[in-house]
């Protein structure tokens, strides 16, 4: 990392205290200053109380993960001081409200800021103390005042200009207080670059945006952390676009509604997490045999069952790969960053329709909730490929429409009910080409073979492995999903320290790009898998598909994301071997 600045700000407090407000004001301001950022959130499954934090890392070149040490801690409650003071670097600072919190005598670098008081005085409400804090942090870090005020204006404008103004006043009060009392205390000094105009986006937001760009017109889902963000984003657009969103009564209804809509001709999706996906498994199998295009966003979190609702994990890879009774083709895409998430959604809808199969996007809480700076997407580069769909003229010229026509590719041309005078027959039973049920053994074989033949086409469209680091590495880190960020930074750090490392991340895990992975592994001295689960699922898949076994695995399953430090430390220890 040749970053000039690389700072971390942590805002800690109880649920409901507004740490997200401070966090997102700062994040957007950092982006406005032309810097890159990565911000992750840590919260409990409760609405009030508990200890949550929002940690944003800002740097002058792209960042993919978080640091263990922080430059600025904003403590909104006692617990934040108690828990995180240690993480503050020697030249860092701790900003807290001296009217509420009594710090330990030994704690250093403490800067008292009467947040609530100033908030009430300048913004009219105690809760404006959050904006006061943002203003103070921005000031001590050396941000350009106009940028922060711009952000506040944008953020609060829809609540009325009065509120926006009050916030700006509060921010100024914080900045003034900091200028007067904290000057020279903070070692940070934010650069300003001309890399402005980037978006600040979570993985969930990127998935939703990508789905909209891809022409998703129907979404039915049931709320579940960490996937709710996707549906809530889509729901907000539904009235403005030709798009229906419905909160289903349960996940079973959600997937079956989406299947109904998809069969009727619209691009459809669902989003859920593990427990909810468990309930969709029968519907998945229906999509498989009825050859219905469907996109399933599976936001992973620690299981089993309800597990830890607001935490992160990557333990549903093999589950999603084998879910559903019987055998049918599918695709599994797993973006590593918000940027990738957008394109993953576009790819998912195209693959789903071209091959008439269910397509998974595996996400996880760390990807779903973390913000990063992303360049605006080139919407012209979004191509919508719907595959073989008959038009009315073609349909009219046919004697009979066969929904499950047997073809070499395994893909049968689609038509929709009501599109022409030809009736469309869709079913979840084994069937003849017509769509009507059959138990004929010969036809059964033909249909099973036809479905399985789609694997070939699916394999040709697999998103190839993403490679970063040394060309002929001593250590290859094989990883997937949001763990990529930690691995990528570990490679940078390691190589700086004289190691010879590479990271290979698989943005698509099924069909498995076996040949390419084998080739990459053969060039490395040793391969280590890195993922967030107990059993080393990518490692198992690697072995199934290539016969190869990683030298060891770096795993984590305590619900908290890993970073570069964790990866390097565990590599030294020889990894955590699950086998």
């Amino acid at each position: 990392m040749e970053t000039a600045s690389d700072y971390s700000v942590k805002v800690g407090g109880e649920a409901g205290q507004g740490i997200n407000t401070i966090g997102s004001i700062l994040s957007k301001s950092f982006a406005g200053q032309g810097l890159y950022l990565f911000a992750h959130q840590d919260y409990y499954s409760r609405v009030r109380g508990g200890h949550n934090f929002y940690q944003v890392r800002v740097a002058s070149s792209p960042v993919y993960s978080f640091s263990d040490s922080i430059e600025v801690l904003v403590a909104l409650d006692q617990a934040s001081l108690d828990l995180h003071a240690e993480e503050v670097r020697a030249d860092g600072i701790i900003i807290y409200d001296q009217n509420n919190i009594e710090p330990d005598k030994q704690t250093e670098n403490l800067l008292g800021l009467p947040m609530a008081e100033l908030g009430k005085e300048h913004g009219g409400k105690k809760i404006m103390g959050n904006t006061v804090a943002a203003g103070a942090v921005w000031q001590v870090m050396g941000g350009e005042p106009g940028i922060l005020e711009n952000v506040l204006n944008k953020l609060f404008l829809n609540k009325g200009s009065k509120i926006a103004e009050a916030n700006i006043k509060a921010a100024r009060a914080g900045a003034d207080y900091a200028a007067k009392n904290f000057s020279g205390q903070c070692a940070c000094s934010l650069e300003k670059t001309d890399h402005t105009g980037s978006m600040v986006l979570t993985g969930n937001e990127a998935l939703a945006l990508g789905s909209l760009a891809a022409g998703c017109r129907f979404m039915s889902s049931y709320p579940m952390t960490p996937a709710s963000g996707v549906m809530q984003y889509i729901a907000r657009q539904a009235r403005r676009l030709p798009l229906a969103f419905e909160q289903a009564e349960d996940e079973i209804a959600a997937i079956n509604m989406a299947i109904g809509a998809a069969c009727a001709g619209v691009r459809s999706m669902v989003a859920t997490s593990g427990s909810g996906f468990s309930l969709m498994v029968e519907g998945l199998s229906l999509a498989g045999i009825s050859e219905t295009p469907l996109v399933i966003i599976l936001g992973q979190r620690p299981g089993p069952a309800t597990g830890m609702a607001t935490r992160t994990e990557q333990s549903d890879l093999l589950f999603s790969m084998h879910a559903g009774n019987g055998e049918f083709p599918r695709a599994i895409i797993a973006p590593a960053t918000a940027e990738e998430a957008f394109w993953a959604a576009v790819h998912a809808f195209n693959v789903a329709e071209k091959y008439q199969v269910p397509v998974f996007i595996l996400s996880d809480q760390h990807l779903a909730d973390s913000y990063s700076t992303v360049e605006p997407f080139d919407l012209k580069a979004v191509s919508i490929e719907r595959g073989d769909i008959l038009d009315e003229t073609e349909l009219n010229s046919m004697a009979e429409y066969k929904r499950y026509l047997i073809t070499e590719s395994g893909v049968s041309p689609r038509a929709f009910p009501g599109q022409s005078e030809k009736c469309v027959v869709i079913t979840g039973n084994e069937h003849a080409e017509s769509g009507y049920s059959t138990e004929d053994p010969v036809v059964r074989n033909q249909m099973a073979d036809k479905r399985m033949r789609k694997f070939k086409g699916l394999a040709e469209e697999v998103k190839p492995p993403v490679i970063y680091g040394s060309e002929k590495p001593e250590t290859l880190l094989l990883t997937w999903g949001s763990s990529y960020g930690a691995c990528r930074e570990a490679v940078d750090l390691g190589n700086k320290q004289g190691e010879n490392m590479q990271v290979v991340h698989l943005p698509q895990l099924w069909p498995f790009p076996g040949k390419q992975v084998q080739e990459l592994i053969s060039r490395a001295e040793r391969t280590v898998t890195v993922e967030m689960n107990t059993s080393g699922q990518l490692g198992r898949l690697l072995r199934t598909e290539t016969g190869l076994q990683p030298a060891c695995a770096v795993l984590k399953y305590d619900g908290r994301p890993m970073n570069a430090g964790y990866v390097l430390e565990h590599l030294k220890e020889g990894g955590v071997l699950p086998w």
Binding site: R217, G260, I384, C423, V424
Partner: protein, 288 residues
């Protein structure tokens, strides 16, 4: 266009048992669709798994023969996607009141634009005779070999409790009544529910054709006010020596169908072979 009941015929072997009530229900359905001048390709029938669900093997319309108990969500999605389709859902009592019970609650709540026909033979036909939620107390079946210890569920009471827009009971042995009810159901905006008593001569030896015949009577000819849900609920309590049939409730409050309430209009197009990309530039800009 003049549509004929024969237009719905399919040349496929029918696998129902001789004497099964399903035949009459299918006849009436075809005739009613023809009377309403609905051409086959403008009709979508979504069916569950069971003997009743096999209806879609024998009627030439667009069909989705889906999972046991999941016909209503599929019908919901399909009807939202395409406003040009007349959507029917057809399934059995096990399908609708056991496996699919939750969706019935919410189909009624949403007032989905679907006519739902439940072939209530008070038994599981396709899987060979197990008890259904509507099986009567004492019924001897392979899963209640010592006699069903429970009273049967009363679907009319349940669906009145959900305040569905249209609630009726008919009997496969009364084609005239069934036809008249079906016709009204198809014309109703939103969710129309019809529980159809149907003898299953193969497995239900208690609730036979003549058992039903001896008991059913028509509440509408007896002057029931179908706008009065409380009165309907009162009538629905009856089950035994006399079984009330007919339209129990036909909501005069002209509630919007689900398509209209969700999409804000009855004909906002979602479906189709053409997918015009939506312009999301403005949405994206909010993140700048």
């Amino acid at each position: 266009m003049v549509v004929n009941a024969k237009d719905y015929d399919l040349d496929r072997e029918n696998t129902w048992c001789p004497g099964c009530g399903n035949f009459a229900i299918m006849d009436v359905l075809k005739k009613t669709l023809a009377e309403l001048d609905l051409p086959p390709h403008r009709v979508l029938a979504v069916s569950g798994i069971g003997q009743a669900g096999k209806m879609t093997d024998h009627i030439r319309v667009n069909t989705m023969h889906v999972l046991h108990g999941r016909l209503l969500p599929v019908a919901t999605g399909a009807s939202l996607a395409d406003s040009g389709l007349k959507v029917i859902a057809v399934g059995g009592d096990g399908d609708g009141y056991a496996e699919g019970g939750n969706h019935l609650i919410h189909a009624a709540r949403r007032n989905i634009d679907v006519t739902y026909m439940v072939h209530n033979n008070m038994i599981y036909g396709l899987t060979k005779g197990q008890a259904s939620p509507t099986s009567g107390q004492g019924a001897h079946t392979p899963t209640t070999p010592d006699g069903n210890p429970l009273d049967g569920l009363n679907p009319i009471q349940l669906v009145l409790g959900l305040k569905a827009a249209f609630v009726a009971r008919s009997f496969s042995g009364n084609k005239k009544q069934l036809g008249a009810i079906l016709k009204k159901a198809f014309q109703k905006k939103g969710f129309a529910f019809i529980d159809i008593l149907q003898p299953c001569p193969s497995f239900n030896k208690v609730n036979t054709n003549s058992w039903f015949k001896d008991r059913v009577y028509d509440i509408n000819t007896e002057g029931h006010d179908t706008a009065d849900i409380v009165q309907a609920f009162k009538l629905a309590q009856e089950w035994g020596e006399r079984i009330p049939t007919g339209i129990f409730f036909d909501d005069r409050e002209d509630r919007a169908g689900f398509r209209e309430s969700l999409l804000g209009s009855t004909d906002r197009p979602l479906a189709g072979a053409n997918l015009d990309p939506m312009d999301i530039t403005e949405i994206m800009e909010k993140h700048l």
